[in-house]
């Protein structure tokens, strides 16, 4: 199933956002302890990996000016950062990769909504919240959620004003370009995840 998301009508236009976002960020800076605005120049993967103070919130702040562009395949991280265009998969997988390198517990979650629409987020265990590409322009970039797959799926579906049908936890490797489902649940089923069954289909 292709992964994408519905264009969210509540996302403000960039011009109107920049005023409110900058005002909110300025307030945040004044209050202290909050992340600084993203740098203006394009970020590289090494910058993200080498930033010792990087956390989930600071990571999200790098993507405030990124545009949405659906890609069937997941982009390599350098391409995504250079082009500043991508989709939820690119963002979630990059977050999982970078924050995982910084020692944070991350989980990639794939939520399928009613109809052939799906959405991917990266859950950060230490924050008890997930990173969602749809929230990249908002002041609050982390959406709090319970750790269960069902909790995350319900929260994601609510944020998109939709019903979800199934949700999977998966892993992705930039090296092999391979996406592996590790657990899948259905909305009408229980909380016990169904073990991933994609391994027989990993054709050599």
């Amino acid at each position: 199933m292709p992964v994408g998301y519905r264009p969210d009508p509540v996302i403000p236009a960039p011009n109107s956002f920049s005023r409110s976002a900058r005002a909110a960020l300025a307030l945040g800076v004044l209050a202290g302890g909050l992340a600084l605005p993203a740098p203006l120049a394009a970020t590289t993967l090494n910058e993200l990996l080498d930033n010792p103070k990087l956390n989930a919130k600071k990571f999200a702040n790098y993507f405030g000016d990124f545009a949405y562009e659906f890609n069937a395949a997941i982009q390599p991280p350098e391409d995504f950062l250079r082009r500043e265009k991508g989709d939820c998969d690119d963002y979630a997988v990059l977050a999982d990769y970078v924050l995982g390198k910084h020692g944070l517990g991350t989980r990639l979650i794939h939520v399928r909504l009613a109809g052939r629409v799906a959405h991917a987020v990266c859950y950060v265990t230490e924050n008890g919240a997930y990173l969602d590409y749809n929230n990249r322009k908002f002041f609050v970039t982390l959406a709090r959620s319970g750790p269960k797959l069902r909790d995350i799926a319900t929260k994601v579906a609510d944020s998109l004003s939709a019903n979800w049908t199934t949700a999977s936890e998966f892993t992705y490797s930039y090296e092999t370009h391979r996406k592996v489902m590790t657990a899948t649940i259905s909305q009408t089923g229980g909380d016990e995840p169904n073990p991933g069954q994609s391994s027989p289909f990993h054709v050599e």
């Binding site: 999977s168 489902m181 054709v203």
Partner: protein, 391 residues
Amino acid sequence: MSSDTPPPVPLADPTLRRVLVFFTLILGVLIGIVVVSLRNLNRSIATSDWVNHTHALISELDALRPNLAAAEGELVRYLHTGDQRDHAAYQEKFADLGESVAVINALIAGAPDEKEQFAPIAALLARRAGLATQAVQLKKAGDTAGLQKLQDTEAEGGDLPELARRLEKLREKQTDLLSARDRASFVQAQVTRWTVLAGVGFDFLLLCGAAWLIRDDLAARRQAARLLAQTNSELEEKVRQRTAEISAMNAQLVAQNLEERWAKQAIEHQNRYNLLIIDSITDAVFVVTKLMNISRMNPAAVHLTGYEPVDLVDKPLAKVAQLADADALRRTFDVLARTLVDGHEMRSQAAVVTMKNGDRVAVQLNVFPLRDRDKVVGGVVILKSSAPSSS
């Protein structure tokens, strides 16, 4: 008004009680509607979830064959070209197929029948993936003959017709299930609609009842107010009339009182005048009662008798005047008194006055009865001094 007066006890208003009962019922119905609607809504959401679930399952089932075909197409392309891009492409397509199988397994996790039906399909698909792996291995090993043999075996038909048949059967069942779940969703929506409509209708009737009750009560109150106003008006009219009568009567009484005062003054004047007349008479005049007791005497009488009025008033006339008749003392009755009782006059009778100092004076005595409406109420005794005499 005294401040200690207790406040009036409000009377129990039956209309208010009835209206409260109506509104309590309306509130109860509203709460009932909300509860039933919420319950139906939750059921509808659950049913809708199942409809979505079935749609998702059908979509995933529908995607299996195209995904398999696409994956195998990419594989064939790779087997022919050996290009790494084609290698990545078929791997991705097989991964998509695996994802679909995983999703279907999750969707049918709680349905044993569907699991039973899908298990052979999943096995067939896994077998196809296994054949793909085998073909890639033969390709990498450079075993062209083995690869050709494998492809020829698959070209004879392989598992695809069986896969299509099983998928169609499962899909048909899911379609029937979808129809049933959609019907259930529709029925629940209808139940919710009718619950709300019936509740609102019942509430409307109750509101109409309450409105009718209030209207009826208002009409009765207006009627009572009209009657009260009318009674007040009549009472005020009567009070006005009575006040006018009393005013007229009062004016009449004032006039009458004035007239009586005037009459009294006239009488007093006349009385004073009469007394002056009596007092101006030079003969001794005694006014006596019917029993011949002196009630008044004029100055001439005082002069004649030497007594002051206080000495003689209410005393018998006989104390100062007796008839000179020699038989008078022997008679058992008082001639003078008899005269008055009989209502006769007595003129120029010789009499003797006994003065205070004891002297006796001969006088001529005249008695005139005083009549009031033909009834003798007293008399006037006039004593004319005839000549001085000594005892």
